[in-house]
């Protein structure tokens, strides 16, 4: 009955709720923004740069209102996000399938992984001329660049995550009768999930970088990158700044809010670092 005692003394730990909403965090961000805008305003008032080159924060804010009002910014954001999502999905599908094949066929995996690591360091912008000549100035040309920028990261992630599963899980599962697809579905995939998520987050950011670059160079009359390049053509600094802020905000929202939250949830469940 001693064993009963050991159980009653311990209580299940409360599940960690992840990062909580903290008022001091908000204050810090507000302070940081205020300082940033303050310095900007100061530099503007001192007149280091002519008005046409460096607008005031108020002018930039007015530009946001104008670009939202005439629909350019919302449509641009929508177009870019659509391209990003489609490109990323294609990368996941393609990279996932090739990654699985790499796990399945040893020789192919070995060759392909060194090839893919090489292409991982290849600058995405360098795919642009190739895409223009091969596909032309179209959405598909942009998608091609986005996929090329992220597909190898997905491939490597899938390959290494599945190969690095602790063998004890697979042994235990096989001993309990798991095999084939159910072993894959109920053991391999969940066991690889923590590192898969980290890889997907990286692939997403590669895709995002590539997208803006491709949109600036492969002109299709829509998208954030296109608006950015139009701003340069017309010496429209407020427009450039507004698009930059949008790009920053979108990247931040996806990385911090979606991927980080997902990662934290998985890590909390596994008991890996509650310390963010």
């Amino acid at each position: 009955m001693q064993s009963e005692q050991e159980v009653t003394e311990l209580q299940p730990r409360t599940k960690s709720k992840g990062p909580s909403f903290d008022i001091s965090d908000v204050a810090n961000v507000a302070l940081f923004l205020a300082a940033f805008l303050g310095i900007w305003q100061l530099v503007y008032m001192i007149g280091v740069y002519p008005d046409a080159i460096l607008p005031s924060p108020a002018e930039a804010a007015g530009k946001i209102a104008a670009l939202v009002g005439n629909g350019v910014l919302p449509i641009g954001i929508g177009t870019s996000l659509l391209r990003l999502v489609i490109g990323f999905m294609l990368s996941i599908a393609l990279g996932g399938i090739v990654g699985l094949a790499m796990v399945k066929f040893r020789g192919f995996g070995k060759t392909m992984s060194s090839f893919a690591v090489g292409l991982l360091t290849f600058p995405s912008i360098a795919w642009v001329p190739f895409a223009i000549l091969l596909i032309g100035f179209s959405d598909f040309g942009i998608l091609f660049v986005v996929v090329m920028a992220s597909v190898f990261s997905v491939m490597i992630t899938t390959y290494s995550s599945l190969r690095n599963i602790p063998p004890i899980y697979v042994r235990a599962a096989k001993n309990m009768g798991a095999s084939g697809f159910s072993l894959f579905r109920h053991v391999m995939i969940p066991a690889a999930t923590p590192s898969l998520i980290i890889g997907m987050r990286q692939a997403w950011s590669f895709a995002w970088h590539a997208l803006i670059g491709a949109e600036m160079l492969i002109t299709t009359l829509a998208g954030l990158g296109y608006i950015l390049s139009v701003g340069r053509e017309f010496n429209d600094m407020p427009q450039i700044m507004v698009v930059m802020v949008s790009i920053f905000a979108i990247g931040m929202v996806f990385d911090r809010v979606i991927f980080l939250k997902l990662e934290e949830r998985v890590r909390a469940k596994w008991g890996l670092g509650q310390n963010r």
Binding site: E6, V7, L10, I168, A172, N175, V187, A191, G271
Partner: protein, 274 residues
Amino acid sequence: MALIESTEPSGQKNELVLELRNVHKGFEYGGNGKATVDNNHQQVLNGINLKIKKGEFVTVVGPSGCGKSTLLNIISGLDQPDAGAVMINRKSKSKTNGVVVIFQEGALFPWLTVQDNVEFGLKMDGVDHSKRSQVATHFIEMVGLTKFSQSYVYQLSGGMKQRVAIARALAMDPEVLLMDEPFAALDVQTRELMHDELLGIHKTTGKTVIFVTHNINEAIQLGDRVIVLSPRVRNIKREFAIDMPRPRNPDAPELVTIKRQILKEFEEDFRHAK
């Protein structure tokens, strides 16, 4: 009492549940692999014969390198013998081969709750949800973890993890529970508690248990039969039947005698290895 060598064990029935017939197993080592014998071939098991009766509690003890893990992998079906046969008297139709392993590290799945971990094997067998949950609940209760059924693995202590592993194995209704140094990573007190608990479970469920350990005390405290493996003969060297009531005091004179003999076997192997 006790101290009869390789005679009949104290199993209730004489029905065989597992038999190894002349099992051989060896490994090839590459280049400068350790323990290299002729032609880089290292024989680990050299014609093992072993019969285990239903309901027996058999402990297997031996110094490191004696082939415990290899024997375990072969009995569990995770590895195949080079020659010889492993026969299991199976009753259930589960997808397992009737031998479920409890690993030293527990090998619980961190992405599942305690409940889902215990249900895992049944799920692989295609048992429906309500039946699964009923069986799992029963065995989680048996190991005293009902309150923790929705906890995740990291929230459990070492001893609790091994209890979940035991519940998970029992849920599959195996013919043989094969335990691979299951309590080696636990502190002494927890290990004692787990011994009591395991003996209680053995008594209530009547399961056949094969318990592999390098700890001589553990082996003689738990087993109806203690099997001593030797790395030198690569086979079973001796066997002791221990017909004493449990829980046993490892300092009882009969057990001390057996312990000395086992130690002597170990020392002999060690001398020859040098």
